[in-house]
Every structure is written in structure tokens, then in C-alpha cells.
Symmetry: C2
Subunit: 216 residues, 2 copies
DNA sequence: TCATAAATAGGTATTAATACTCATATAGTA
DNA sequence: TACTATATGAGTATTAATACCTATTTATGA
């Protein structure tokens, strides 16, 4: 389980962040100022640090500065929270050695995304994972083109297939016959230029992220 | 098609990077120093900038400084290439407002990963994509636990299923009977506590990234 | 030596998806 | 008006995967 130290002096925001991160499966350690944060970091050796840059005492700048005194902590990704979107301000944090930042107010998705990406990135560098599984932009563009040519019923069914739904299930959901669903499946397969057993299912699961770009 | 300006004075490395990025489906614009780079950026309005920090004349520092004079360019993600792994050195680039960095020598996967992640991150923030599709750490941990309990034959077959291979195909690859493959599939399904038609295939495609963490 | 796990293989039945053909109603367009 | 695309539904056959059985060989550990 990945460990995160969260340093934030606004109680409401801190608790909010903690709750989100716990739901995402992280082990969290809370601190309301930099000094407490440093204590938690030394004690728990987290995988990532999330810290507000502006706090009343022992703020983010102080913490970054303390951490930079020891080699040991330089390798822990440090993400800071800044109140301003302005790039010039962001630099102050980055100049002290932070790895990333998010700006207030941020959404749940932004928070989770920033943390997941930074951890994934770190793992990528360590394990040097081959990204043969990654959908390259050129493939993504082709897939998007093909999906554009589907009718709205076809797109609706395509999206349901990505959710692991069976034809029977989809038929029940849309109040139509299984035969209708299967006919749509056949037509979709033709338009996507795929054929063979389970090829449509495989297509949907493989390009799930692209299919979900389209409106519901 | 995403546009990338690549600024690198070592011809060999630059051509290498360009080739990789073109194969990944990006539109590339090459420059061998900061001044040329600035010209390409102004002309082509790229989605991302990749720039070596140390070059003979008009280096990365110069380019970042020039770009920071105009609001217009502040929103283009800037990734720089640094020769040293040392974090202290990295800061010099970050302090000037860069968004990310990669260190020489880097692999193809590192390069592509850094660029894709930065672009994805930007899109995430713009479109605020819901990450319902994202595998949360808690789910990932459970999946890893389950896969650990598989035998090596089972793991081998599991990995082949994630590659869209059929039982027939896998049997041919491993010089074993289809029945053997299907028996392994059944045993795997039991260990993974899944049942039902196509559930194993769906499991494999959904947790592809986790399954591929395991050694070949 | 005995017990167990793992890998191998076969049999038989069922299920969901696909291939292919056909048919009907409706809405929009040349 | 006639044509076309779309959505709906059915029939029939095939395929790949799954469920549930049994069985043999080999290696490993108590």
C-alpha cells in the first residue's frame, strides 16, 4: 500500500484530501504544518508527499528546505498545493526542488490524477516498463475516426460492451431484442473492419479509454 | 496530430528522438539550438517542447527565459533533457519554469512515457476526465495478490490471453494441447475467483497493465 | 516412501458471440 | 415520389470459451 504524507493547515481541506486518498487505497499520514509533516515523513518514509505551499508557520517552503538537507528524502516525489494558477508563482515551489503541483481549488480527479501519474512515472523509471500496451496517438486517431462513423445506437451499444455487459444484458437495459443488439454488433464489426470470434469484445476492452471519450 | 518541437544540438540524438516521436504519431519540428527552437515554436505553436538544457549556444536556459517573456508560451509543457541524474542540477531547469525533465541516457520508453504523461495530464486538467476506468491502488493490490498465487504455467498463459491470443493460438505457441490450455484457463479462473462466460478474457484485458508487471 | 502440487491431456455439454440472410417500419433526402 | 440510412427483429449455423469430469506423469517435500 502506497503511503502519502499530507501537509495542509486548513482542517476542512486536509480532511477532504485524506478521505479521497483513503478511498483510493492509499495509506495517509496527516500533518497541519511543515514541522509535523517532517516528523511524519521521517517516521513513515512515504512514497509521496503532498504539501500546501502557504501555511501560517513552518510552511511548504520551510519543509522543502528541510527535506533538501538530506539525500534520503530527495527521492520522494513532492507535490505541492498552490493557491494561484500563475506560472510565475508556481516557480517558487519548483525552484526549491518540488516535482509537481496542483492549484487550488482542485477537483477530486485532479488530485488523484496528479498523484497517480507521479507514482506511475516513478515506477516507469525504476522498472523501465515497456509501454507496448500504450495506445499511441496514431492508433488513437484511427480508432476515433472509425467510431465517428457509427450511428448513435451503435455507439451506445459499443459503450455498454466496454462495461463488460453481455448482449442479453444490453438488450434488457435498452428494452430491445437480443437479436437487435447482435445485429448492431455485426454492423459495428463491419464498420470497424474487424472480424472473428470475440474480436469486437477485445476491441472494446482494448480501446476502452478512447470509446469513453465519446458522449453518453 | 500533436506537435512537438525538439531542440537538441547533438545531431545523432536529435535524429533518434525525432524518429521515435514520428513513429509514435507526433508531428515533429527539429532545432539544433535555442534560437532555432524559438523560431519553430513561434511558427508552429506546438503542444509540447522537448529541449536539451546544455547546448553550445542559445541553450535550454536561454530558451526557457525567452519563452517566459510571453504569456502565450507559458502554457506549452516544457520538458528538458539533462545530462545529470543529480536532483540539485535538475532544479536549475525546474526553477526556470520547466514542467518536467528526462535524464540522459534515456530509453525510448522513458521518452515516450514522459511526453505521453505530460500531454495526458494536460488533457486531464482541461477535460477533467472521470477516472472511473482507472484501476485504483486498492484494486491493483488485490489483483497482484491473486496473480501471485498462480503457477508459472498459469501466469504464462494469462499473459498470452492479455495479448488477445486464443486457446488454439496459445496451444500452438507452447507446443501443448488445446485441452491443456483450457484446463489451465479453468484453474486460473478458480484461483482468481471468477466464473462465467468470457470472464477470464475480460479480466485479462481489464487488468492487462497489472498482469504485465509480472516477469515473462 | 508417501503425499501433494503441477503440468499434461481427453470427454461431453453448455453458453455467448459471431456470420450470414432476410424482413419491416420509419425518418430524412434527392 | 423514390431512395437511403437507421433501428428493429428473426432464423440458422458455427466458433471459442467455459463447466465439470477423469486420468497420467513428474517433481518436490515431509
Amino acid at each position: 500500500m502506497k503511503k502519502i504524507v499530507v501537509v495542509e493547515d486548513e482542517n476542512r481541506l486536509r480532511e477532504n484530501i485524506i478521505e479521497i486518498l483513503q478511498m483510493e487505497g492509499y495509506e495517509t499520514f496527516a500533518a497541519s504544518n511543515g514541522k509535523e509533516g517532517l516528523h511524519e515523513i521521517k517516521k513513515n518514509n512515504p512514497d509521496i508527499i503532498l504539501c500546501d505551499i502557504k501555511m501560517n508557520d513552518y510552511d511548504g517552503y520551510w519543509l522543502i528546505n528541510e527535506l533538501s538537507k538530506s539525500e534520503k528524502f530527495l527521492n520522494i516525489p513532492f507535490i505541492y498545493i498552490s493557491a494561484k494558477v500563475d506560472r510565475i508563482d508556481i516557480r517558487n515551489g519548483m525552484s526549491l526542488g518540488a516535482d509537481d503541483y496542483i492549484t487550488k481549488p482542485f477537483t477530486r480527479a485532479e488530485l488523484v490524477s496528479a498523484i497517480n501519474i507521479r507514482l506511475k512515472r516513478k515506477e516507469d523509471f525504476i522498472k523501465n516498463i515497456d509501454d507496448s500496451e500504450t495506445i499511441t496517438p496514431i492508433v488513437a486517431a484511427q480508432v476515433r475516426e472509425q467510431i465517428k462513423n457509427l450511428t448513435s445506437s451503435e455507439k451506445r451499444i459499443l459503450k455498454l460492451i466496454t462495461e463488460n455487459r453481455t448482449s442479453q444484458d444490453i438488450a434488457a437495459e435498452l428494452f430491445i431484442s437480443i437479436k437487435t443488439v447482435d445485429n448492431h454488433r455485426s454492423n459495428i464489426a463491419h464498420k470497424l473492419q474487424i472480424k472473428g470470434h470475440l474480436s469486437l469484445l477485445k476491441y472494446c476492452l482494448n480501446y476502452k479509454s478512447i470509446i469513453n471519450e465519446f458522449e453518453k
